[in-house]
Amino acid sequence: MEKKISQLTAKGANLSSTDLLEISEVITDGYASKYVTGAEVIASAQTGMQTELVSGTNIKTINSNSLLGSGNITIQTNPSTIGAANGTAITGTTIQISASVLIPAGTLVANNTIYIKAFINKTAGTGVTTPRYYVNTANTLTGATLLGAGGGMSTSVYFQRFERNIFFDGTNLNSFFAGTSAANDYTLSGITLTAFNPLVDNYLIFAISNGTTTPDNGNFKRVIVQKYD
């Protein structure tokens, strides 16, 4: 008996991979059966579809938080890191660049604060090593403006944690008095105002000079520069 597909009785259950969808074709001496399996139908239907996401299995988490679901995940962007650098050890009495960090044009706007934290060390020598930092529109000390100086490192002082906060008022960098040598700016001081154009590239340059020649070898070993909105 011939019967249209649309006249077939519904299965009444989900298609399973072991089901067979058969079609009989009338041929000269009877019928020829053709079929596809449920598994083939399912596989065909799923072609190009994304595998179900399982948090932590095929989609990563952020700080152990699942990314699945609707809504927004707020990422902390304040402070942001402007740049970081590993310095090189400097020998000799001439002021030389140990490390520098680029502040790209457009990075700073009025009322931003730059936070500098650095680790300064030396591994040899007993002369006075002086760390200083400058700002310039080129990565060179020539023509650079002094922003400040860290503490002098002599005899067995081989470690210094250097920190500065610099407020940008839209025109000037406001910083701890440049003429005072200090490891940090936690204390009261005069203020140094340094003209700063945020619309061009600027470099924070971290430099070292030594009171004596080799073996004194000061180094801004690690510098991190952050921006607070």
């Binding site: 020539t142 002094l146 440049a178 340094t194």
Partner: protein, 66 residues
């Protein structure tokens, strides 16, 4: 190489006027800090003044301040 132009009481560098506000601090034979109205500027003997070269920073200072 940077060339600066000497003006009354200061110099011009990169089209910006700098007015000297105190004596230079010699850092070594080639470098010195110059207090100006725009901050303390590091200059060295790679810089020429009015296209003149100087073999020592002291000669550089003498020319700039005379």
């Amino acid at each position: 190489m940077i060339n600066i132009t000497k003006i009354q009481g200061g110099f011009v560098m990169n089209k910006t006027d700098y007015l000297l506000e105190g004596e230079a601090e010699v850092l070594d034979t080639t470098q010195a800090h110059f207090p100006t109205d725009r901050g303390i500027i590091l200059l060295d003997t790679s810089v020429t003044i009015d296209e003149q070269e100087f073999s020592t920073i002291q000669l550089f200072i003498d020319y700039l301040y005379k």
